[in-house]
Amino acid sequence: MDFSFTEEQNRFRKEVRGFLEEEIKRGYWEPTCDAWVQGFDPGFTERVAKRGWIGLTWPKEYGGQDRSHIDRLILTEEMLRYGAPAACHWFGDRQVGGAILSFGSEELKNEFLPRIVKGEAYFGLGMSEPGTGSDLASLQTRAVEDGDYYVINGQKTWTSCASFSEYFDVYVRTDPEAPRHRGISEFIVDAKSPGVSRIPMIDITGTEAWNDVFFDNVRVHKRYLVGEKNRGFYQVLHQLDYERSGMERLMGNYPLFDAIMQFAKENELSKDPVIRSKLAQLQIEFEVGRLLVYRVALVMEEGRAPNWESAMSKAYSTEFEKHVAGVAMEVLGPYGQLKVGSKYIRLRGMALHSYLGSKGYSLQAGTTEILKNILATRRLGLPSS
């Protein structure tokens, strides 16, 4: 056992921090909650790409750096700590690139991976549909073969980053006769394709958090099929494990966590023993959660795909984030309810944004209930209910 980082890792962390602090100093952006998924800043993504920090773990032949998963976790941990606007490249970097790498053809890898690495291909996800929340295998969007093409019809929803997406990673039914899990395939669809349209959805915080994405006779060439036809469901399970595995589930609202601690100190609210105890408890939960997330990276470092380990860290972490938001609202008292633009606003409205937004934290990328089902069956071997 070893809870230290290597000197190289420490250096890397310092480098990332230096970069981010410089960015903030120059006024490029300010730390924001949920910036990994809602902070669209092509300039930032370009500057990150220039440093070689997208696709960090990918093979060099596709433009990656062949670095470790711990390095990548250090990178994302610092991005989240500083609330950096990384949404443009986050999905491509975190999971779509990985899916292409794991399942895609050589042609697909060569087409997309170097562009993701350069920060030139922004991805959105086309998984959920209105009828399919947790039950992904029930999806209805169809793709029908037509010569060298597939023709896609249907609707996807809850697509984060969709306004900015240049491509969608879309799961569709390619064999309606097969058992539900065995007739799904994965495609990369150019967002500019004729027939693709998007309607923004406003969330409880007032943010355009998602889009409905419609596919109306969208023609996609066969070479954009990722992996095997009809094996998409198994691929998406794999991808979901990556989607759940990262520090963003613990540190999505870290700027608030950091700010409320400072605020309590500066206003001497931390002298109140009840508040003091609540904030210390948050710190404890954060430290513990961080270890659960690092464990997932270590699993990947061993060459295994994250599995129940990411279910555990994600379920734990989103509860923590909700707890942060709840405590922040309590500490701020009536000030917590003020919206951006209001007189007397505190912490730039981060507590309110996060409090409302946090209602969704334990729903995204697998509800806590689904994650606990996974833990019970995949890790503990309990019989299906």
Binding site: S128, T132, G133, S134, D135, S138, T157, W158, M201, I202, D203, I204, G206, A209, W210, N267, L269, V274, K322, G326, M329, E330, G333, P334, G336, Q337, L338, K339, V340, G341, S342, K343, Y344, L352, Y355, L356, G357, K359, G360, S362, L363, Q364, T367, T368, E369, K372, S385
Partner: protein
């Protein structure tokens, strides 16, 4: 002991529910949230005509001669409908306070027009800072000035002040312990309002008093001995907020159970999953317990019994229960519940605001600890 409403109360509840279902749609709520003024004059007049504003006031002032407990039933329905506007400010904070401690002359002067819906009232109590609902936190000063008073200072989070005709302003008349409530003409000179932007879209204001003259006759209750009265106002307000909250969570609970029955995943209603069932069972318990503890406090207020302990129990419990109920409601509703396409967010936002108002659970645990002799 009876935990059921009287027939009369049931009728009031039904009428209120029907009327609000008709007039207070979520579109209306949304419009009011977005508007600067935050209420509809016409709707206000409707409520006056229905006798709602005057419900709990004696007939001699034009009221309905009903009790605070009856008002509680109405407030619950208002919470259920997410009713926007100055009802709470005018009735619970303003009118009933005047009824409780005003002189006969003040009652004659203020209550009939209030009850007719012609005047909007509110309470200017809290100030910038972090210790609210404590006498020591009152810094707004009323200086003696030739037999009358001049008020200066800043009040914060004053509901509906921007549309109020009269303010009950809690001010300091002595450096230590000297708290007095003044009736202040809200449209008079020297008062400035800034409407804050809030989560619930309710209209909380900063109110700056700059040398505002107030005649001595406008003292409500006793000079420099007003804090115990303020505490009673806070208690009533806390219970009023509990009533709104149980309206909120009752409705959300029903919506959630309905959703659990309808929404299918894995070819079965999600309400057939045991974990969802237990979530719903927990919500049911929280909602019932919230209702009983709220109505217990409302009943005691209504009977004029001392009830600092029961109010503390109610507000602390309801606040925490509400948090749990919303956590589960959102978890069961899934993604649709965090969009503005679904009604849930109206409740989520309002309930949080009500939970923060007039003392949160930590505040009332401390109140209760004192009552327990700790």
């Amino acid at each position: 002991m009876k935990l059921a409403l009287t027939e009369e109360q049931e009728m009031l509840r039904e009428t209120a529910r029907d009327f609000l279902a008709d007039k207070c749609s979520k579109q209306f709520v949304k419009r009011m949230e977005e508007s600067e003024v935050g209420y509809s004059r016409e709707f206000w007049q409707d409520m006056a005509e229905l006798g709602w504003i005057g419900l709990a006031f004696p007939g001699e002032y034009g009221g309905g001669d009903m009790s605070f407990l009856d008002l509680a039933v109405l407030l619950e329905e208002m919470g259920r409908a997410c009713l926007p506007g100055p009802f709470f400010s005018t009735v619970v904070l303003g009118g009933i306070s005047i009824l409780d401690i005003g002189s006969e002359q003040q009652k004659q002067q203020y209550l009939p027009s209030l009850i007719r819906g012609e005047k909007i009232f509110t309470l200017a109590l809290t100030e910038p800072g972090h210790d609210n609902y404590d006498a020591s936190s009152v810094t707004v000063k009323a200086a003696r000035d030739d037999g009358n008073y001049t008020i200066s200072g800043t009040k914060l989070f004053v509901p509906d002040a921007h549309i109020a005709d009269d303010l009950l302003c809690v001010a300091r008349t002595k450096p230590k312990g000297g708290i007095t409530i003044f009736l202040v003409d809200a449209k008079g000179p020297g008062i400035k309002y800034t409407v804050l932007k809030t989560m619930a879209g309710d209209k909380l204001c900063e109110v700056v008093f700059d040398q505002v003259p107030v005649p001595r006759a406008n003292i409500l209750g006793r000079l420099s001995q007003g804090w115990s009265t303020v505490q009673k106002i806070i208690e009533r307000a806390a219970v009023g907020k509990c009533c709104e909250l149980i309206g909120n969570i009752q409705r959300v609970f029903e919506m959630t159970v309905d959703y659990a029955k309808e929404r299918k995943q894995f070819d079965r209603p999600i309400g057939s999953f045991q974990v969802i069932q237990h979530y719903c069972a927990d919500m049911a318990t929280d909602v019932d317990a919230a209702r009983f503890s709220t109505y217990q406090a409302a009943w005691m207020l209504s009977e004029g019994l001392p009830c600092t302990k029961e109010v503390a129990v109610a507000k602390a419990w309801v606040g925490e229960a509400s948090k749990r109920v919303f956590a589960l409601a959102h978890q069961i509703h899934g993604a649709i519940g965090v969009t503005i396409e679904h009604d849930l967010h109206y409740y989520t936002r309002r309930a949080k605001a009500a939970e923060l108002s007039f003392g949160d659970a930590d505040f009332y645990r401390e109140v209760l600890a004192k009552e327990m002799g700790f």
